[in-house]
């Protein structure tokens, strides 16, 4: 099943911003049982968040991040079906929502108009729905307990084949798992093949236009080096209170959330460069379907999106582990790609040739990331104990539960527990 990432961005009515904050606070205080938005009922949802940003002028925006399964139509249908009246309350605090009474169709139309699509995105556990992820976790947990009971039987010599047969029987006779006998591929052949085709076409295009690209590229590098030398890196340290607010929300579950907003450097040169980098990054990210983005194995859903006609850049990520381990992964494994993107925004640490230095300057990069980070007012995860890698492990357990495996493959399969 396909996953979709998008944000819904709306204008907050300044007179009602207090009401809105109260609503968001109530949701965040109890994600499951609050009266406004009971997240677990929205079974298509993986991760969601609400943040508020100030606009370039006096306006403020509400951003609702959605990472979900299936089509946009089906998702909006389920979202409004399960939380329509609550969303009506939330959007009644926005200036361009003029409904006095809740009307599902009109709310859907309103939300649809406010959709902002990512320029670049990444999905860690490609092709697995939120429901499937939760079910596979449950399967693993129960099989683990089954194995424990087998090991506890005095005198029971556990061996590979009988144990696997026992696990299969256990799953088959357990009513919770009777529906999981067959599982389709994570992605169809077309879904796997198309991204590579796109990359190939892109590379062929590069070669064909090489005679034009070489002089154009040289010119671009010359201009780039001039603007890079003139760029000023921010020396500001993140405000201590802001930092405190951010860290207080972190490390509650296996995952964390980061939302940042940065201003794109003025002028057409940076604008075009950034759009090109985001486009190429997205092209390459589509080919990554093994759970890693540029070697980082801990990202569930992440995306970059330009807003306000490209004036500012949003970044959202739902990742495993601590903020500092995530940022260290950025620096260790993906500094060039990230520098290539964020070097086009104001205040980023000094770069060379778009992708060098920048994020490698650890202290400056971390300060920049914290300073541009927004407070995540509401954040929901459908599977708070699972990392990308554990979800992959669970999928392998399930996908090979009933397949015919030879002795060696069975031994490997048992290592997954």
């Amino acid at each position: 099943m396909k996953q979709v990432i998008l944000t819904i961005i709306t204008n907050i009515n300044p007179d009602k911003s207090n009401d809105l904050e109260k609503l968001l606070f109530e949701i965040e205080s109890d994600l499951e049982h609050n009266s406004i938005l009971k997240f677990p009922a929205i079974t298509l949802l993986h991760f969601a968040c609400f943040v508020i940003i100030s606009g370039q002028g006096s306006e403020t925006y509400l951003i609702f991040e959605n990472n979900f399964d299936d089509t946009i139509d089906n998702y909006l249908e389920q979202l409004t079906q399960e939380a329509g009246p609550g969303l009506h309350k939330i959007y009644s605090c926005c200036s361009d929502y003029n409904e006095i009474n809740y009307d599902k169709t009109r709310l859907i139309t309103y939300l649809r108009h406010a959709i902002n699509y990512p320029n670049t995105y990444h999905i860690g556990n490609v092709g697995r729905s939120a429901v499937r992820i939760q079910q596979e976790c449950q399967l693993r947990e129960q099989v683990e307990d089954y194995i424990d009971t087998q090991l506890r039987i005095p005198g029971n010599k556990v061996s590979v084949l009988p144990l696997r047969n026992g696990i299969q029987n256990f799953a088959r006779t357990n009513s919770l798992f009777s529906s999981i006998k067959s599982v389709g591929p994570r992605q169809t052949f077309i879904e796997r093949f198309l991204p590579w085709l796109h990359v190939t076409i892109f590379l062929i295009g590069l070669i064909i236009f090489l005679p034009v690209l070489i002089p154009a590229g040289t010119l671009w590098v010359i201009v780039l080096r001039r603007v890079e030398k003139a760029d000023m890196a921010s020396k500001d340290l993140p405000n201590v209170n802001h930092l405190q607010n951010l860290v207080e929300r972190e490390d509650k579950i296996a995952q964390n959330h980061i939302a940042t907003i940065t201003t794109v450097k003025p002028g057409w040169f940076r604008q075009i460069t950034l759009r090109m980098v985001l486009w190429v990054a997205n092209l390459l990210a589509r080919t990554s379907n093994k759970g890693e983005l540029s070697g980082i194995p801990s990202i569930h859903f992440a995306h970059w999106a330009l807003i306000e006609n490209g004036k500012r850049l949003l970044f959202f990520s739902n990742y495993d582990g601590s903020w500092s381990s995530y940022l260290d992964d950025f620096i260790d494994k993906a500094s060039r790609g990230l520098t290539g993107i964020w070097s086009n925004t104001v205040g980023f640490p000094k770069t060379r040739f778009l992708i060098l230095d920048g994020a490698r300057n650890e202290a400056a990069f971390k300060a920049y990331a914290r300073a541009s980070q927004l407070e995540t007012l509401v954040w929901y995860s459908a599977y708070p104990k699972l990392t990308v890698q554990i979800i992959d492990k669970d999928s392998l357990i399930r996908e090979n539960l009933y397949t015919s495996l030879n002795g060696e493959a069975t031994t490997e399969w048992l290592k997954l527990f």
Binding site: Q244, E248, D320, S322, S324, S325, D328, E362, K385, L414
Partner: protein
């Protein structure tokens, strides 16, 4: 290779002094009067041991908490040139959550280092024998009382056990990185069959780190390079409950007929540590403690990907694999090792308290480890190890388990031992260690000490 400025670096940064000076005492002090404190420091200065000093009878080193520096005249603005972790101190709420210092390990239950008993200065005293140590401790006490302005919060005695084993019975302090430029590579190689050289900037401020970057150096108005040749010192007093540890293992491995299974007990304990009691790594010796491995000196010569990918020797969740995952956390071992090198610490801890006579009997005496480590970034090194490796419930694809030895456990806590045909899980792990105190210190260079003392 960057030459280290050994005349400016305090001796403790480059040497544990353990081979020449097995006796140690740590004094935690509080400043009550800045002017007198400064006089005290100016008198003490001549006794502080720089790394260039190779004397073997006694050594003295000193470090300051952020409150200590503030009392020595650092303005709020100057203090912000230090990293947030050091400014906050170990007991700030967020730092406790990063470190996993909750429940019985929460700062309010500590004996020192918390709000009830704050610490400004740490003085580390080392000596060749108990007599010299007693003399030095007395001299320090006299000088503190004589000058005034300083009071003693707590005096912590330590001493290496005769056989370098910590109280649970395992050889300790084996896997240490070698600081580039310290000329100790061959020494470490001879000692453990392996030496990982790590850039000096990972441990001493003012040098290039593993990313070839100079991290910002803390500054004072009167001394721009105040932090140069300094390091951050993390101190944690960890009580070890030896009888709880061995009694738990005795129960967990009891035979079906109710008798104690000594072999299984010792094997399971070693699985939790990742080494046999002799220090021999399970990755190299998965079946039995070679005992004499300590003599062949190769306790540290192993990697996980080549020798122990499935954790059948050293379990994924064992203490040593969590504390230093070496090359195991990336499909590419070379890249994994590069990342690990950015999260290393130099451990300089020493045991305290008597060795237990019978490990199964609670004799009511306190014993444990004065854990000390050095790093140039508390966030990226000590705290990272604690949060992302030691206390991470999903470390290396594990689920719901933390470090079996030093982690804080709940009723559901597990420890998984990978093996064929299928893993076994030790259930309901209990707590074997308790935190008694701790603080983040900065250990300045000699010139910075002169600046603080006004000499």
């Amino acid at each position: 290779m960057a030459g280290l400025q050994v005349t400016d670096i305090q001796g403790f940064i480059l040497s544990s002094y353990a081979s020449n000076m097995p006796c140690a005492t740590y004094m935690m002090l509080r400043i009550t009067d800045y002017k007198q404190g400064r006089t005290w420091l100016s008198k003490l200065y001549a006794d502080i041991t720089p790394a260039s000093d190779r004397k073997a009878d006694y050594a003295l080193n000193i470090a300051f908490t952020s409150s200590g520096l503030a009392k020595f005249g650092f303005s709020a603005e100057e203090v912000t040139t230090f990293p947030q972790s050091f400014q906050d101190g170990m007991t700030a709420t967020h730092r406790s959550s990063i470190l996993g210092d909750q429940g019985i390990n929460a700062p309010e239950n500590w004996k020192w280092g918390n709000k009830q008993s704050p610490v400004d200065i740490l003085v580390l005293l080392f000596a060749a024998n108990e007599d010299i140590l007693a003399e030095q401790v007395q001299a320090s006490k006299d000088s503190i009382e004589g000058t005034g302005g300083i009071e003693i919060v707590v005096v912590l005695a330590a001493g290496r056990q005769p056989d370098s084993k910590e109280h649970f019975g395992f050889l300790d302090g084996i896997g240490q990185p070698v600081i580039e430029g310290s000329n100790r590579e061959s020494k470490q190689f001879d000692r453990t069959g392996h030496a990982t050289v790590v850039k000096s900037g990972e441990f001493i401020l003012g040098y290039l780190n593993e990313l070839n970057i100079l991290m910002p150096v803390p500054a004072a108005k009167g001394m721009v390079n105040f932090g140069i040749n300094g390091t951050y010192l993390v101190f944690r007093q960890i009580e070890q409950n030896v009888s709880a540890f061995w009694k738990f293992l005795e129960e967990a491995t009891r035979k079906a007929d109710g008798t104690t299974d000594l072999d299984s007990m010792e094997r399971t304990a070693s699985k939790m540590v990742g080494r046999w009691k002799s220090g021999a790594p399970l990755t190299k010796y998965p079946l039995v403690d070679p005992v004499e491995a300590a003599e062949v000196n190769e306790e540290n010569d192993f990697e996980y990907q080549a020798g122990d990918r499935d954790g059948f020797g050293c379990p994924f969740g064992s203490h040593i694999r969590r504390a230093n995952p070496r090359d195991s956390l990336n499909t590419d071992p070379v890249k994994a090792l590069q990342s690990s090198k950015r999260h290393r610490i130099i451990r300089r801890g020493r045991s305290y308290g008597d060795r237990t006579k019978d490990v199964f009997v609670d004799d009511g005496k306190e014993r444990g480890l004065h854990f000390i480590c050095l790093n140039s970034s508390i966030e990226r090194q000590f705290e990272f190890i604690q949060q992302t490796w030691i206390n991470n419930k999903t470390f290396a694809k594990l689920y719901d388990e933390v470090d079996p030895i030093i982690g804080q456990h709940t009723r559901e806590s597990l420890f998984t031992i990978q093996q064929e045909p299928v893993r076994c899980r030790i259930q309901h792990i209990s707590n074997f260690t308790t935190l008694k105190g701790g603080a983040y210190f900065f250990m300045p260079g000699m010139a910075a000490l002169r600046f603080l003392a006004g000499i």
